[in-house]
């Protein structure tokens, strides 16, 4: 039987009778980067907090590395590293002193790991500067370094690129990819920056109002977000007929607003435009488009009104 790093079964959480997680069942495999997507209040952080032991579910259960039950989960959490909501650090200590504090707690004897981690997250030259004087991006990096102490097998990061400058975003992205590839680390990452998430995650979990709307792999998502010719015209019904009879394709979709997405002829757009012109159809838009993760996310959670 396959052992999952993190598995939840009908996980439910209510606050004052309001369900913030509703029967969430997920299974995460080792060595993958899971992107957790959802609007504010979708239940992403609550899910992470329950996995980390900071909150308790009102129904269902969590399994970590195949183990469940409070005591066993507690022991398995030693294999985890977390940064949920805000990085946790002692403000009057330097970055290295903060890492030392956590290193002592985790019982890691190797002192060198402090500097190695600081170098890894780009805080190698912060010296005695106190963490309270760090920029938001530096605090995020420190939070990631703390989460990486002890080489966790599961890394949970809630909005880790908040406050990072563009270069920092790239560095953290590369770091996460490297950790996944080289150390076979499983990473659960939530972010509002969907294009950024698109460049990191290998799997996506879309949550909305406490429910997992969809869990897809990157290849499935790419298939769903595939590129198309986007056509807006005065006679969409006639255009549909032309596509089928003259261009011989049914690989198109008429949107509710009557605009058409054509998934064929991407390399031969001239044939399409000629057919449209020959049939006297007036086009107002003709462009190559592909669903972005954002658009796809919006469509999954229920359209523009929810986006």
């Amino acid at each position: 039987m396959k052992e999952y790093v993190l598995k939840t079964n009908s996980l439910t959480k209510s606050y004052h009778g309001v369900k913030v997680l509703d029967n969430v069942s997920l299974a995460m495999e080792a060595g993958k980067i899971y992107g957790l997507i959802g609007r504010n209040g979708a239940g992403k952080t609550t899910f992470m907090r329950i996995a980390a032991g900071l909150a308790f579910s009102t129904g269902g259960h969590v399994e970590l590395f195949g183990k469940k039950g409070d005591k066993l989960l507690e022991a398995q959490r030693k294999r985890m590293g977390c940064m949920i909501e805000y990085p946790g650090f002692i403000p009057y200590m330097s970055a290295q002193e903060n890492l030392r504090y956590y290193r002592i707690i985790k019982g890691i004897p190797n002192v060198n790991v402090e500097q190695e981690l600081l170098e890894l997250v780009g805080l190698g030259n912060t010296g005695n500067k106190k963490a309270k004087n760090f920029s938001l991006g530096m605090k995020q990096r420190l939070g990631i370094a703390i989460a990486l102490l002890g080489e966790p097998e599961l890394l949970i990061l809630d909005e880790p690129i908040n406050g990072l400058d563009p270069l920092g975003v790239v560095e953290i992205r590369n770091l996460l990819n490297r950790l996944c590839d080289e150390r076979h680390m499983t990473i659960l990452i939530s972010s509002h920056n969907l294009p950024e998430l698109y460049q990191v995650a290998t799997d996506y979990i879309i949550m909305h109002q406490g429910v997992v709307k969809q869990a897809v792999t990157l290849s499935e998502l790419e298939e769903k977000c595939k590129h198309h010719i986007f056509i807006e015209c005065d006679q969409p019904e006639k255009l549909a007929s032309v596509l089928e009879t003259q261009l011989g394709t049914t690989n198109y979709k008429v949107m509710p607003d009557k605009r058409i997405k054509l998934y064929d002829y991407l390399d031969n757009r001239e044939a399409v435009s000629r057919a449209i012109f020959d049939n006297g159809i007036m086009i107002t838009e003709f462009s190559i488009q592909g669903d972005t993760l954002e658009n796809y996310f919006i469509s999954v959670i229920g359209g523009e009104q929810n986006g």
Binding site: L54, G81, C82, G88, Y102
Partner: protein, 265 residues
């Protein structure tokens, strides 16, 4: 758990706050001795006893002990270090025990000036007295100063001082459940100070009510716990010791009960 204690001690003694608190108690203990010296000499009028009491251990520790809990326990919630410890598999029971031990170590550190200054002052052979407001170390200073000092008296003085520290620790242990429950330093200080004032009122009520007296005597706030001197009997000292230990442990267990299923925001 040993790792947690080591790490928290590292954290506490890296903080300038603990050094400031130590400096305050050192200053206050010296001021307490100065007032207790000048008042019986007549250099200061009797009306200054109230001001002198403000520097006493009973008064300062009620505030500074709660400040310590507020900063080092509530602070862990505010800067989210406690979140990381739980997420890293640190059991809540171990967290409570280690934080309690480190809290008691911190209190021990900041109360030490009172014990040392009092013992040294008694050893000088001078007369110190602060009258009716004398309580805690100020009471030892008032009652024991001027006595003939022998090795056995000095040894008992140290034992009494040690027991009094334990009574202080036991009283201040109430800051633990408050800190874990309210998680706001200012509230911990306010609530604990209110409790210490209330305990004073209950003590006077205990002299008129056997029921209140019996209940209070099971706590470090009751009996003559804060009025221990070299004249106190071994039984009285042992009772103060035992009650303080049992009460402290009970409070730690209550704290665990509060924190065991608390959601960490």
């Amino acid at each position: 758990m040993v790792n947690m204690i080591r790490a928290d001690l590292y954290k506490v003694f890296k903080s300038t706050v603990i050094r400031i608190l130590f400096a305050i108690t050192l200053f206050c203990s010296l001021m307490m001795v100065l007032f207790a010296y000048l008042i019986p000499k007549g250099s200061l009028g009797g009306e200054y006893t109230g001001l002198g009491f403000l520097f006493s251990d009973m008064n300062t520790m009620s505030i500074l002990g709660a400040v310590t809990a507020g900063i080092f326990i509530c602070g862990d919630f505010e800067n989210k270090t406690i979140h990381n410890i739980i997420a890293d598999g640190g059991g809540r029971g171990r967290i409570i025990v280690s934080k309690s031990i480190v809290f008691f170590c911190s209190i021990l550190f900041i109360i030490l000036p009172y014990a040392l200054v009092t013992i040294i002052a008694v050893c000088t052979g001078n007369k110190f007295d602060m009258g009716s407001v004398s309580i805690g170390f100020l009471n030892i200073l008032s009652k024991e100063s001027g006595i003939e000092l022998s090795a056995s008296v000095l040894a008992k003085l140290i034992v009494v001082a040690g027991t009094l520290i334990l009574v202080h620790l036991s009283q201040l242990s109430l800051c633990l459940p408050i800190a874990f429950a309210v998680k706001k330093p200012i509230l911990v200080v306010a609530i604990y100070y209110a409790i210490s004032i209330l305990s004073g009122q209950l003590s006077s009520l205990a002299s008129r009510s056997d029921v209140v007296n019996n209940i209070l005597s099971l706590t470090p706030f009751g009996g003559n716990r804060m009025f221990l001197t070299v004249q106190s009997g071994t039984g009285e000292l042992f009772k103060a010791f035992a009650v303080s230990i049992v009460f402290g442990i009970a409070v730690v267990i209550v704290t665990y009960g509060i924190f065991r299923k608390t959601e960490i925001k």
